[in-house]
């Protein structure tokens, strides 16, 4: 299975993401620089975390407007699996590939710790390796993870099963509305999430809870 990782200046989780994808697919992902307008034929495109363009203007705002994102949008339209983690999620929202926005954490503090995630919908390509209602461990590290969407959008996300991860009761680290930690597009092939599943892949990480997510997205057995 082939994958690609989008690179923008200021991202810093690209190495972790490349390592995770290499472990899971058995081959190194392609890397695609922000000015590139073509993405190779792959099964999964990932926008990793970090602080693209220093979070200037709004987190993800500048990165979302780089040429590579038009290529990502085109691939998403064609049905290719696209996943944005942390800053990658912020970029997907700013690019209009997912609905809503991520704002400064309600506590105003940067949070860097492990949270518990509830799998809200296990019927997506990304979450098929989990059970609905299952609680998994996952680290978070962000300053702007406070998910917001207007009431109408929230209703749609809830009723269409587009909320795939919620912070399990009592662990919401950022004030996200409805404890939302990750959502998919209405087409189901674009996922955005604040937590970092790429950091729970190998036993040496202290757990492998993130593995099924990548395996699911790539259609592999976990």
């Amino acid at each position: 299975m082939k994958s690609a990782v989008v690179l923008l200046p200021g991202l810093n989780r690209d190495r972790d993401m490349i390592a995770a994808l290499t472990t899971i697919t058995g081959q190194k992902p392609h890397t695609v620089w922000q000015t590139e307008t073509e993405i190779p034929d792959v099964d999964l495109i990932v926008i990793p975390g970090g602080f693209s363009y220093g979070d200037y203007l709004r987190c993800g705002a500048i990165g979302a407007r780089m040429p590579v994102m038009q290529a990502v949008a085109e691939k998403a339209r064609q049905g290719v699996m696209v996943m944005g983690v942390c800053n990658g999620f912020q970029i997907l929202l700013e690019a209009g590939l997912l609905p809503g926005a991520l704002m400064r954490n309600a506590t105003l503090k940067f949070v860097c710790r492990e949270v518990k995630l509830e799998i809200t919908n296990a019927n997506t390509a990304f979450t098929r390796g989990y059970q609905a209602g299952q609680i998994i461990r996952c680290p978070v590290a962000h300053h702007d993870g406070n998910y917001f969407a207007d009431d109408e959008t929230l209703k749609r996300l809830e009723s269409e099963g587009q909320i795939v991860f919620r912070y399990a009761e009592g662990t919401n680290p950022n004030g996200s509305v409805n404890d939302i930690a990750g959502i998919v597009s209405s087409t189901g092939n674009v996922l955005g999430m604040m937590p970092h599943p790429e950091n729970l892949i190998e036993a040496a990480h202290g757990g492998t809870d993130g593995r099924a997510l990548f395996a699911g997205a790539l259609g592999l057995a976990a």
């Binding site: 705002a61 407007r65 704002m103 954490n105």
Partner: protein
């Protein structure tokens, strides 16, 4: 000749503004009595070539829609200096 414009971007009503809240708290800590709600926003001072104000207004609106504001959570206002 250049046109000078000021774009103001503010959070929409109903969107939680934790930074505004923190500033509100700091103002009362400093002893400013009677401070109501504080909302934080952004100001962009932009210079544009030419003298066509109508075109400038159209361009600035497009800039707001495409980049300067995130219309999911923010409103914007364009002001062109006289």
């Amino acid at each position: 000749m250049a046109i000078r414009a000021r774009v103001t971007v503010t959070l929409k009503n109903g969107v939680l503004d934790p930074q505004g809240k923190a500033i509100e708290g700091a103002l009362s800590t400093l002893g400013f009595a009677g401070v109501g709600q504080v909302r934080q926003g952004k100001v962009f001072d932009i210079e544009l070539e030419g003298t066509d104000k109508a075109k400038a207004e159209t361009d600035l609106t497009a800039m707001c829609e495409k980049l300067l504001a995130n219309t999911v959570i923010e409103d914007y206002a364009v002001e062109i200096a006289g």
